[in-house]
């Protein structure tokens, strides 16, 4: 009944309270990394090789896949193939940015809170994270997106990206903080931390040099799964009237636009979905491999 989270019940898709006895899964890791790399490299290379403007009208609308346009054309005659892989750059970059900031801030906050001996700090942080976790992620993000407004911009990013990123940064550190805190509580019992205390090291030094190196592998595993959650979130937002504004190619908006043409042109939505699914399966396989064989922190 406690609200503690341990590494065993990280809220990773497929891994709540799952503990494997089976030994490391090398194949899963390799296939997973391979699938992720395939999509990432395609997103990087294809827009360079084929310099067609993703917003250019290149052919008749709603043309089925052909040698010239492997994913067909959309309802106004843009090349879906180029759009999907150009969009991939944006989606993957946004997901990476969205994961990186909460990963760092959440891990640091959680470790500091976990190491702190003031109960009040701990209680307040935990109640706050409890509360954030009670909200459906998508709805909380949307509320923050509306408050921040669509006109706020971050340089280099298309309209609509800034509010989504900031919302994710505000919400997502909480899970990392909880995981880091739980891990810190385990580590606090270890001899090497007591030794550091006895040596008279400052709290800051213990956190930075002794705790964080053993805490971050735990939160990093979650970060991999979180990246997939974020890609899905960003792609889902156009369905709720938010997210990256068209005509900027983005996986969600391509699928959303294609939704109205499913019968005439399944390829608009489903080729995009296919690419996202390849990436997602890769991520899930890597998470499987990491969770079944969590990196043991090296103890001195």
């Amino acid at each position: 009944m406690s609200t503690e989270i341990t590494t065993a019940d990280i809220n990773v898709p497929g891994h709540v309270a799952v503990r494997r006895q089976i030994q490391p899964r090398r194949i899963e890791l390799h296939v997973g990394v391979g699938l992720i790399l395939a999509v990432v490299v395609a997103c990087l290379v294809i827009p360079i090789l084929d310099r067609t403007d993703p917003n250019a009208l290149v052919a008749l609308p709603l043309q089925p896949p052909s040698a010239e346009h492997p994913f067909g054309t959309d309802m106004v005659g843009r090349d879906v193939f180029i759009r999907v892989f150009t969009a991939g750059r944006l989606d993957i970059a946004l997901a990476a940015l969205g994961v990186l900031v909460p990963f760092i801030s959440g891990t640091v906050i959680g470790t500091v809170v976990g190491a702190s001996r003031r109960r009040l700090v701990d209680t307040v942080t935990m109640r706050l994270t409890d509360c954030v976790i009670a909200f459906p992620f998508v709805i909380l993000v949307l509320v923050i997106v509306v408050i921040i407004g669509a006109d706020t911009r971050i340089p280099l990013l298309p309209p609509g990206a800034a509010s989504v990123l900031v919302a994710v940064w505000i919400v997502n550190w909480t899970t990392y903080a909880r995981l880091a805190r739980a891990r810190t509580h385990v580590l606090r019992q270890e001899d090497f931390i007591s030794a550091a205390r006895l040596l008279g090291f400052s709290q800051a030094r213990i956190v930075a040099r002794h705790l964080l190196p053993s805490v971050w592998p735990t939160t990093a595993t979650y970060a991999v799964a979180d990246a997939l959650v974020l890609v899905s979130l960003i792609a889902a937002l156009p369905f709720l009237g938010a997210g990256i504004q068209p005509p900027t190619p983005e996986w969600g908006s391509i699928m959303y636009e294609g939704r109205g043409f499913l019968l005439q042109a399944w390829w608009i939505s489903f080729t995009t979905a296919g690419v996202l699914l390849v990436l997602g399966t890769g991520v899930m396989l890597v998470v499987d491999a990491l969770v079944s064989n969590p990196r043991r922190p090296r103890l001195p």
Partner: protein, 315 residues
């Protein structure tokens, strides 16, 4: 005693959720650089509308006073007034939607249990065979599939190609809704079902390795009875916590799937509120869903206490 304490903890969480929404939005509104009312409404809004929103958000008052005012209203059960639908109470706007979304989520949970529990148990019983490998791979792919994509795929194949279900809509009353609800619910099942299957599989494998199963086998208890009476109850236990844990993700998925199937739930309300940047309605939806999820978590807590004697013993 444990029941009282659990209920109290969840009640406290509801209070904190209410505080969080009120204080959080009020502070965030003021942290936004420039005129927040202008930021929310965009450049095209008329000055009168912006002024009205400034008043609605309490920007013409000190922040502490505004927070106190919103909290006072919240305590009285007043979620505020919609901005897009002038004069309409937020509570009356989102009430019907909440019922629809809750119904969809309930059907999705039921479907996931029907698919996931036998599926997971079967995977545990055929372990280390090709079927197990395919089953595991299948759950991995399904878990990687966002529910709105599952919804699009089901909409295309089941509804548009095969014509087995309406492409969207809602009947409005319960037995009739079944015709409309099963396809969106199935889309949500593609996430929760495999998750349950995996958990049941692992818990069943753990149970099969326990001495009491071996003892039962040694006593000559038939295999079928071992599975039904010794393995299954242990495999079901973690499912309660799992479903409670995933209530938030399920609601997140439900609101998106609703927009694909034009189901008039909270998702459709949210979509409307987004288009008019109707902050009070969105705030209301966030609050109502969070409180429902906490209440649902309370239910799973109590269920756990009821079915698992170990929890009662340790407290």
């Amino acid at each position: 005693m444990l029941v009282v304490r659990t209920t109290f903890a969840r009640a406290l969480q509801i209070v904190i959720v209410g505080l969080f929404v009120t204080v959080g939005t009020n502070l965030l509104v003021r942290l936004v650089p420039g005129d927040p009312a202008r930021a929310i409404l965009g450049e095209k809004a008329s000055p009168e509308v912006v002024r009205a929103l400034r008043h609605e958000l309490g920007l013409d008052q000190p922040v502490i006073q505004q927070i106190a005012r919103s909290l006072g209203r919240l305590v009285q059960g007043d979620l505020g007034t919609s901005f897009g639908y002038r004069g309409q109470e937020v509570a009356s706007l989102i009430g019907p939607g909440l019922g629809v979304t809750a119904g969809l989520a309930a059907v999705a949970i039921a479907l996931s249990l029907v698919v996931g529990v036998p599926g997971g148990l079967w995977l545990a019983l055929v372990r280390r065979t090709e079927a197990d490998l395919i089953g595991r791979l299948g759950t991995t792919v399904l878990l990687a599939l966002p529910s709105f994509m599952a919804a699009l795929i089901l909409l295309y194949f089941v509804s548009l190609k095969l014509g087995l279900a309406p492409a969207g809509g809602w009947a409005g009353s319960w037995p009739e809704n079944a015709r409309y609800v099963w396809l969106p619910a199935l889309a949500l099942t593609t996430y929760l079902g495999p998750l349950i299957a995996r958990t049941v599989r692992q818990a069943a494998l753990d149970a099969i390795g326990q001495p009491f199963v071996e003892a039962a086998r040694a006593r000559g208890v038939p295999r079928r009875r071992i599975v039904a009476c010794h393995v299954l109850p242990n495999a079901l236990l973690p499912v309660i916590t799992l479903v409670g844990f995933n209530a938030g993700i399920l609601v997140s998925g439900a609101v998106i799937v609703e927009t694909v199937f034009a189901v008039p739930g909270l998702g459709s309300r949210l979509l409307q509120a987004m288009s008019t940047r109707d902050l009070p309605v969105m705030q209301g939806i966030a609050l109502v869903t969070a409180v429902s999820i906490v209440l649902f978590n309370l239910l799973t807590d109590l269920l756990n206490i009821a079915v698992d004697p170990r929890i009662r013993r340790t407290h």
